[in-house]
Amino acid sequence: MNILRNISFGQYIPGKSLVHDFDPRIKILGCLLIIISLFLISHFWGYLVLGILLLLGIILSNIHPRFVFRGLRAILYIIIFTLILHLFMTQGETIFRWGFLKITREGLINGLFVSCRLFLLILTTSLLTLTTSPISLTDGIEKLLTYFKFMGLPAHEIAMMMTIALRFIPTLLEETEKIMKAQISRGADFDSGSIINRTKNLIPILVPLFVNAFRRADELAIAMEAKGYRGGEGRTHYRELQMNKKDILFFTLIVILTIMVSLLF
């Protein structure tokens, strides 16, 4: 029953640290740069450098490594799956053979390489969400998107939708858990039976969940209207984002580092 509580990928851990304090725009752009360079790098050395950078980030963020790696556990299977696919599906010089299965040298290297890339990708984004509250994250995204407003991008609306979606993730999880428990009390069984049966068993969860979600959306819309919400035009912020020296310093550092790493390796 505690499955739903263990999803910690994308969770925010409140705290006070240098990494928590950085301007969200800087953090988002920094992550973006690191992610781009992760795809440009074609050598393990590059990953080592970025890995050390991220490790430094985790240490500076004061977040217990347990939380960081708890989030990674969920994608471990994806990494293992891609590793296996690469191991057996790549053509090249055979280094190990067992029946019709063969592992190639290229497969091994490629597999490890892609696994490293995935691992670092998730680590980067985890570090972002672990140290940035959903509110400042969407604030940051909204600010960044306003630079594209000249293209007709509805920055505020997108940010508002994201805020609402993020806001309701815990609510929906909580509600799912409650409905599951209630249906279990009525005799439902979610852990056994064939795949078809298990899928059918989801109906008693999904129907009430959707009914309630639609009702809640309706109520939220009315409540927003009652409070005088009329879109982003002329709307001010309670907390204005402000960049200071350390943000700019950090950003320059990231820019230089990622460009160097991408060019060198």
Partner: protein, 289 residues
């Protein structure tokens, strides 16, 4: 002994920054045929406690015995436990999902693998228990009023024929009429079928009137356990101190007793109050003569 909780502790999100201790060293025994009221503030652990009684939550430490069986031993079929202990959640109307009321109430019996005839029998029996017309059977649960939906949800637990019924604030968010109806149905279920009942409620008047035993929870602990008369009259001070209310009449006589020594403070129902007032006024009339 029907249910026994031994040193039960429960913590949400252990070893996380959001860790909260919900239950502290709970020891509790419930006999068959009891009618118990559970009161306490929002967030004091009532809902957490009742979810331990049918095995939805596993204690962080301590044991839960049902009919002498430790339900968290290996190999215990919790489904059987949940048939014995029917738990009606708060706002149970939010769990309805079937196309008709009949299907909704038949959900539990179907999961038990009962024969078609038996299922039908149970559905109509359950409808009767919650005082709904048989014409409701073919209606959509989503077309009903809030009070009716809640009664359908209650019926969908009753159709499993549990030996114990746990109700988590069954009257929350209902209008006075709906509230009284559902409570009188619960009372009738207890009187007619002698199902053990645990009722979580904030309605002190009804609790005082209906139940035989009251449990008071505060900050994850059971701090009082006794008959309504003991709790509301002898322990009134303690209840008020933790911020809980007394039934209105009891409160009234409690205040009167504080001001004048002639008044009997231990009044629980309106009938008792009437008698007491008549007795007093008669006396004072006699004195005046």
């Amino acid at each position: 002994m029907f249910i026994r909780l031994e040193n039960v502790n429960f913590t949400y999100n252990p070893n996380m920054p959001f860790e909260t201790i919900a239950l502290k060293n709970i020891n509790l025994e419930i006999e068959k045929g009891e009618f118990i009221g559970l009161i306490g503030h929002t967030g004091c652990g009532k809902t957490t406690l009742i979810q331990h009684l049918n095995g939805l939550l596993t204690p962080t430490s301590g044991r839960v015995y049902i009919e002498g069986l430790d339900i968290h031993q290996k190999g215990v079929n919790l489904k059987l436990i949940r048939q014995k202990i029917g738990l009606v959640f708060q706002y149970p109307e939010n769990q309805l999902f079937e196309e008709t009321v009949f299907e909704e109430i038949a959900f539990g019996p179907k999961k038990l693998g009962l024969a078609e005839e038996e299922i039908k029998k149970r559905v109509y029996e359950a409808l009767e228990m919650v005082d709904l017309d048989f014409s409701y059977a073919e209606r959509s649960p989503f077309s009903l009023s809030g009070g009716e939906m809640r009664r359908v949800a209650l019926a969908s637990i009753l159709s499993i024929k549990p030996q114990m019924l746990i109700l988590d604030e069954p009257t929350a968010n209902l209008d006075p009429q709906g509230r009284n109806r559902i409570l009188s149905e619960i009372k009738a279920i207890y009187d007619n079928y002698r199902i053990t009942i645990l009722l979580v409620s904030h309605n002190m008047e009804k609790i005082a009137e209906m139940v035989k035993r009251i449990l008071v929870m505060n900050k994850g602990e059971i701090i009082l356990d006794g008959s309504p008369r003991e709790i509301f009259t002898q322990q009134a001070e303690k209840l008020i101190n933790i911020g809980l209310a007394l039934p209105q009449v009891t409160q009234c006589f409690y205040e009167l007793k504080k001001r004048g020594k002639y008044w009997n403070g231990g009044i629980l129902t309106v009938e008792e109050a009437e008698k007491e007032i008549l007795k007093r006024t008669k006396k004072s009339v006699d004195v005046q003569k």
